[in-house]
Structure formats: C-alpha cells, structure tokens
Amino acid sequence: MNIHEYQAREIFQAHGLPVPDSEVVDTPEGAADAARSLGGRVVIKAQVHAGGRGKAGGVKLAADPEEARDAAGLILGMEIKGLTVRKVLVAPTADIATEAYVGIVMDRVSQRPVMMVSPEGGVDIEEVAETNPEAIFKETIDPRYGLLNHQATRLAYRLFSDPSLARPAAGVLLGLWRAYRSADATLAEVNPLISTSSGEVLAIDAKMNIDDSALFRHPALEAMRDEDAEAPSERRAREAGLSYIKLEGSVGCCVNGAGLAMATMDLVKYYGGDPANFLDIGGSSNPEKVVCALEIMAGDPNVLSILFNIFGGITRCDDVANGIVEATSRLELRVPLTIRLTGTNEDEAVGILGVAGFEADTDMDRAVQRAVRAAGVQ
C-alpha cells in the first residue's frame, strides 16, 4: 500500500528524522494560511500516489501566502497520471547545499532489506543506477540484526566526508531503518536528503510503501489508505476480497488464481483482443465473490464481453456456476458471457449453468477465442 508524502513525513518524524514541520491542506485558502503560519517562502506539493509529480506541474514554489493560495489553486484538482489531486503539502523551502538520496528497498535476490544511498540525490534513483552506478552505495541489512551502527556510519561517510554532516546523516539512516521496520514497509525513501549551507542535514521529502500482507497488525497504517486514490471498482473489489485491476480493454476476465488470470489476459491479447481487467477471485468457493466480480465487470462501460475461466481445484466449479446464475438473475447483463470451467465438480457446474441457459466450455483456448469474438474485435 502506498501512503502519501505527508503521512510518511509524520512517520519519519516520529522516528527522529529531521523532517521540517509542514502542513497538509485541501483548499487554496488553507494553503495561504499554512504559508502564513510557516512564514517565508514555501513549496506546495501535490499529495498523489504517482511518480513524476514535479514534471507534471504538481510542485510549485510560493514567495508569500498569496502565491501559495494561487499555486494550491492550480495544483488542487489537477490530474496526475489519472489521479486527481485532493490535498497539497505546504512546506518551508530549504537552503539546499547538497542533495543526497537515501532509501531502503526489499531486495528479492538477497531476500533482505537493502539500504541504498547516493550523493546524487534529488533525481530518480533508477536513472542514477543506470547512468552512474558507482555513485550508489549499498548495505544489505541482516533482518536478525537490523541496520547496524557501523553500516550507517559507512554509508554516511559515503555521502559526507565532513563528520559534522556524516554524524547526523548516520542518525537519519538509523531512524529510516527503524521507521521501515516498525511500519513493515517494503520501501522507505528520503529524496533528497539535503545539507544546508548552515550545516544542517534535513529530510525534505518522504516516501513509504507498506507491505499489504502486514497491514493486519498496523491498524493505524491501514487507516492511512487513501480510498480516493483507488478506482471505485477497485475499492469495491478489495472490500469483497477480490484482486482486481482495471485496464482499458473490452474483454472482462474473471479467473481463479493470479497466474492463470494473467495467462488468460495474455491469451485474450494473443487472439487479438484487449483485456478489460485483471480479476482473481482466489481459491475460495464463495458464490458472493462471483456475484461481486460479475457486477464489477458489468459496470465497466468499456467491457463488451465477459469471460470466466475457472480451473477447479479448491475452487469448486459448481459454486462458481451458482454465483454466475445468482448474479445474472440480479442484474441484466448487457454483454455476452463466455464460460470456461474445468476440474472439481465440473459436471455439476455444467448442469447448473445449462438449467439457467448458459453453455460452458472446458477448453481455455476455445473459450478465450469466443470471448474475443464476442467483443466484436474479430
């Protein structure tokens, strides 16, 4: 789960990082007030779950409260990568001498968190990794020990040779690790970590992703979820326990299992269609989930054809069939439905569907081809 910059700033502050005080507001007038109370020049930053907000015009400087009001007025309501900006952060500007990158990512290869720092901060770290990889320094963190003091020291002296900067930087790295660990994060970043000409080290940006699987033990973090950042259909799916991602195609795909769902979408593409979504109803056999899945797909105006692809293992085909019958009795389906079912209780499912007037196929390729044709693509 992504959280917003202003939320990550709070968490980082709580772990002792030198994050300047700032305010988050949702109106231009609020931005003017914030600028007034912060005093001096401020920066207005869109709070939105999308990278590249600077390039998209989502970050603006303001010399006084009036400029802050105007800037916030321009940013609030703006769309960045399909997401509407509903909140802005108002933060004091800093007198930047140097900009560094510091971050912790979960590294799949070492199966450990890796702390990365670079004296080339303020830009996309993936770019630095490609153009100037020797400017990135790493320490693998043993999860049984956490980030050790000497590791923080080693990295801090890669960023600053001056001990009066390296010492607080080491403190920032240790604090960032504590924040990462205690929030069950999969990413924690400060970009840039700056030094000022007066010799301060400050974290003037904050980014954090939280492990979805760990949210059960972090109700306070779960409460930070920005439901506005999800499509309403995605929120509904999440609440129903479905794994759903809306795409732009016309063939709705409802599958049990994430791998098979992706393979089904790929096969739609292979046969000339475009998948309208990823949708995994998971391993359970709850007909209610099937009903919800069908409603979500049917509610997508782009969808011209709906495909079910169910491989019965734990999932019982008859449960899915019952769900389909139940859902279609509740809502008038305006698009053709193609059903592929095989495996556990396949015969019962075919019977149930037959009574309700549906035909079911057992072959995946044939069903996908039919669903693509039904969308009018071929």
């Binding site: 199966q111 999860p143 049984r144 699987s213 760990a214 991602i245 990823f278 495996g343």
Partner: protein, 289 residues
C-alpha cells in the same frame, strides 16, 4: 525417485484441525501420502479421522510419529512461526501453503531455515505432487499422470492448467512443484531445476514463470550453464501494467525490472523453448523430449 517427496515422505500437517488443513489432510492421505501426524496446540492426544495422532507440537510429531516432512495450513499471522517450529524440530522438508505472510516475517525465516539446512517450499504455493505416489499440498490429484516431465511454477491454477493440458495430451509428469508467488520464497527455480537435472526419472522440464523479480532470468542462466535436459518455458503477464500487483505479492513489475518481455528474452537467449500459449507447451515438449 522424483524430487523432494516420494515414498519416503512421512507427513505431519500443521493446522490439521482447521478447515483447510483437515480437508487437504484427507485429500493427501487418500491420494496415498503417508500422513503420520497432525499438529494443533491444545489437541495433543486426540486423533484425526481415528487413526492419525494429533500432537501439541511438531517436535512431538517428529519424535513420536517419525515425521520428516511438514505441510502448513495455519493462518498467515502464525505461519512464519509454524515454519520456524518445523525447522527447529528436525523436519527436513517444509511446505507452506499459507498465503499473505508478511515479507518481514519471511525475511527472518530464511536465515533460520538455512542455518538448519532444511528445505522450505513456498509460502503461498500449491505444493508438490508425484503422480500416483505422494502429494503434499493442494495440487489436485485427478489431473496428473505418471511420466517423465518435471514441472516447476510460481503459480497455482496456471500450473493445474498446464498439467491438465499435458495429461490430456498423454504427457506424464515425474514431479510437479509450485514454488509460490511471494517475493520471498524458500525453494526457487534453480533449486528445482538442479533437482530435476539430477533426477533419473525426469527427461525434461517445464518452467512456468511470471512477471516480477528476476528469478526467471537467473533460472535461464542456470539452464544454459548447468542443464543437459531440455527445458520449455512459459511466462504469464505480458499484458500486466507496470507498478500494479497482479494478485501474487511477488507479481509486480517495478521499475524496469521484471517484465514478461525481458523474461521471455532471457529464456530464449539461454536455450529454453518458449511457449506463447499454455497449449503450445505440449507441442514444444513433444519437439524436444
């Protein structure tokens, strides 16, 4: 012989009195797996289906029932400790079916497992099946066929689909193993490929990858450098958008890493025949095995 499981397997089910645990315990026993014990703290001394002893702890199952393999069906918040318990009790192979274990928990589990020299399959995986002999996990027994092709996959139902298509075409399997869709897993592609290469009952291997991470690329290099047996590959997720988690916690394209295109290229460049559709796996296999 097969890989990892077989007639020598003496299984203990952790969470045997739960809904999933009891259902699959019966499925596995009925398939022929030697189910020697179950574990549910507090139910020690009872029996499961009248003939399987239940213990409070795994160490009791090892000492009193001779269990050497465990399969875990406990809820996500307890699953990491269940793995540690098995590792600590002398279990040699631990298969963790549970989905949704926090990444931080798994990062602590891995060095613990490695220190004790035992093998973990999963978590968030369907387990293993040796057709006609033994199954550990949730792979459906009715779709497999004894034979000489090994299958290793990050998926669940996609694996079933491939097994089903192979079986339908008369191609049998030596062992099918689902290694799980999480970013941090125990046994990986390379471990399985190495085992299949060494297995005298396997003639060729199907590897089913998906977007996210670089395990497929590592596997491809291993195949080109270390394998003599033919390998056929398939990658799911060509149509997946970057930055979105496609169900599995591990199935996410982050940055420039982990696209299906890259993985497919790595397969091709390292001599793995790539199937464009699941159905093409059958043809590709028939061409090489």
């Amino acid at each position: 012989m097969a890989i990892f499981i077989g007639e020598h397997t003496r299984l203990v089910v952790q969470g045997i009195t739960g809904r999933d645990g009891s259902f699959h315990a019966r499925q596995m026993r009925d398939y022929g797996t030697r189910l020697v014990a179950g574990v549910t703290p507090g139910k020690g001394g009872q029996t499961f289906d009248a003939d399987v002893p239940i213990f409070n702890t795994v160490v009791d199952a090892v000492e009193e029932a001779g269990a050497n393999t465990s399969v875990i069906y406990v809820p996500a918040s307890f699953a990491a400790d269940a793995i540690l318990e098995s590792a600590d009790s002398g279990i040699e192979l631990i298969v963790c079916i549970t989905e949704g274990i926090p990444v931080a928990d798994m990062m602590r589990v891995m060095p613990y497992i490695e220190e004790r020299g035992c093998r973990l399959v999963g978590p968030n995986c369907p387990g293993l099946i040796v057709p006609g002999i033994c199954k550990v996990g949730i792979l459906p027994g009715q779709i497999v066929l004894p034979g000489r092709v090994g299958i290793v996959s990050r998926s669940g139902t996609l694996t079933y689909e491939v097994i089903f298509q192979l079986t339908s075409a008369g191609i049998g399997q030596s062992t099918s193993i689902g290694i799980g869709g999480d970013p941090i897993i125990g046994t990986d592609f390379v471990d399985c490929l190495r085992a299949f290469e060494a297995d005298s009952e396997t003639d060729g291997v199907v590897i089913i990858g998906e977007i996210g991470g670089t395990d497929e690329q590592t596997a491809a290099r291993f195949v080109s450098e270390n394998m003599t047996k033919p390998v056929v590959g398939f990658i799911a997720g060509q149509t997946a958008p970057p930055g979105r988690r496609m169900g599995h916690a591990g199935a996410i394209i982050s940055g420039s890493e982990g696209t299906a295109e890259e993985k497919t290229r790595a397969f091709r460049e390292n001599g793995i025949a790539v199937a464009e559709r699941p159905a093409d796996i059958v043809d590709a296999l028939q061409a090489v095995v």
